[in-house]
């Protein structure tokens, strides 16, 4: 168990060190998300009174699109020099590799979300009246995006049209996550909706738990094949 923990930490640390040295993924994700926010701002700012209605949707679409950029690049560094084989030929378990890569993707996405959300809240003048629900939806939703994205990113690593295929495969699976995220965020920003955020948060938690087990299991089968 200690050995697996050390291997997990080593892989996450390696990915973070390489990222902070090259700044390829984070910078691209952050710039893309900010660009999206600006486009949305021009599209919707003509009617600022309805910001609470469309703000949650803008938040989740931005997070979904920007996280896809990170997912597309997540295994690129393992391809150079055949490094994925250094992981697979080591005694490190496939489950440990998966959890480490998903954690890296989670950290990248959360780091991207911080400035993006700040920008959205300021641009659209959105108040966060229920910060707990807001943070809970973002964290649970981002975990779901990271789990599903990591699995399919690995699966499509060598696919010729990976950039196109990844969203085609993951978005249908992630639609419920986005819907739940929008529902909770709507309540969190004080939109006039009759939703119980607790139900949607429990849904997100359940989604994360089911997909954590399913993706962990599938990754082990798929990656060695």
């Amino acid at each position: 168990m200690i050995r697996a923990w050390r291997q997990f930490v080593a892989i996450v640390r390696k990915d973070l060190v390489v990222e902070f040295r090259t700044r390829e993924i984070l910078l691209t994700m952050a710039l893309f998300s900010m660009l999206l926010v600006i486009v949305f701002a021009f599209a919707f700012l003509s009617d600022p009174t309805r910001a609470r209605d469309y703000g949650p949707g803008i938040i989740w679409v931005t997070v979904l699109f920007a996280s896809t950029i990170g997912q597309n690049r997540l295994f690129d560094r393992e391809r150079e020099n055949g490094c994925l084989w250094s992981l697979l030929l080591s005694p490190t378990g496939a489950g440990t590799i998966f959890l480490a890569k998903a954690t890296t993707q989670l950290v990248f996405t959360l780091l991207m979300e911080l400035p993006t959300l700040l920008l959205i809240l300021v641009f659209f003048d959105l108040p966060v009246v229920r910060p707990g629900a807001f943070a809970g939806a973002l964290v649970l939703g981002t975990v779901a995006l990271s789990l599903v994205g990591t699995l399919f990113s690995a699966m499509l690593m060598n696919a010729r049209m990976k950039e196109v295929l990844l969203p085609l495969v993951t978005y249908p699976l992630l639609v419920p996550v986005v819907i739940a995220g929008v529902k909770v965020t709507s309540v969190a920003v004080g939109a006039p909706v009759a939703e119980d955020p607790g139900t949607w948060l429990r849904f997100l938690l359940g989604f994360d738990m089911i997909f954590a087990v399913a993706t962990w299991f599938l990754f082990g089968r798929m990656i060695r094949a």
Partner: protein
Amino acid sequence: MRVRALDLRADRVVRIAGRRHLLRDVTLSATSGELVAVLGRNGAGKTTLLSVLAGRQNPDGGRVTLAIDGRPATGAAARAAIGMLPHDLLIYPDLTARENLAFFMTLAGRAPDGAFVSDVLARIGLARDGDRPVRQFSRGMQQRTALGRLLVSGADAWVLDEPTTGLDESGRRWLLALLSEQVAAGRLVLMSSHHPSEVAACATRTVVLEAGRVVLDGPGGADGTAAAFARMDGGAA
């Protein structure tokens, strides 16, 4: 760290790519303390055989088995016992040599040990360059880093695909001395090579592949190497 006794066997191994047989009924066994040179012309199946023995490729027929200290080993135990150095070096170009070695030491299930990593860097001749990103290294220095990966992993068997690639003459001599030292310490080394002088210098056994079949399994040394290369030349004629 004690080197464990390994017995690595390939039993009627077949490997197919499309319609082409890369390996045909290859039967081979190798044990600790041997340095087996896998020889053959380009496309004979050397890389495929080494990849199958190291677990990088699965055989399409037959099987590969590993015993450690007389007990069958599979999964993580087998992967921990065998270290591979293929053509693609399996090292991270954006990490320094020191970071790479520390990382692979942890992946191999060993506790990180900075002093040991420094010792290995000195052994592979990169003591002064250990804190530079591998991307800035020459091919030979990258090859040394990749060999360092095997040293920190503590693997009981090394599978090396043309390991002198990119090394200068002194680097070749250093590597051959390192391999002889590892074999003397009880490690099993399997390596492919196209250079008779390298094979004669360190191999205890020679295996010649021709169109995916083992056509010669003989001794190493100067005479054995000469016979193996003569067999290859005969096959070419």
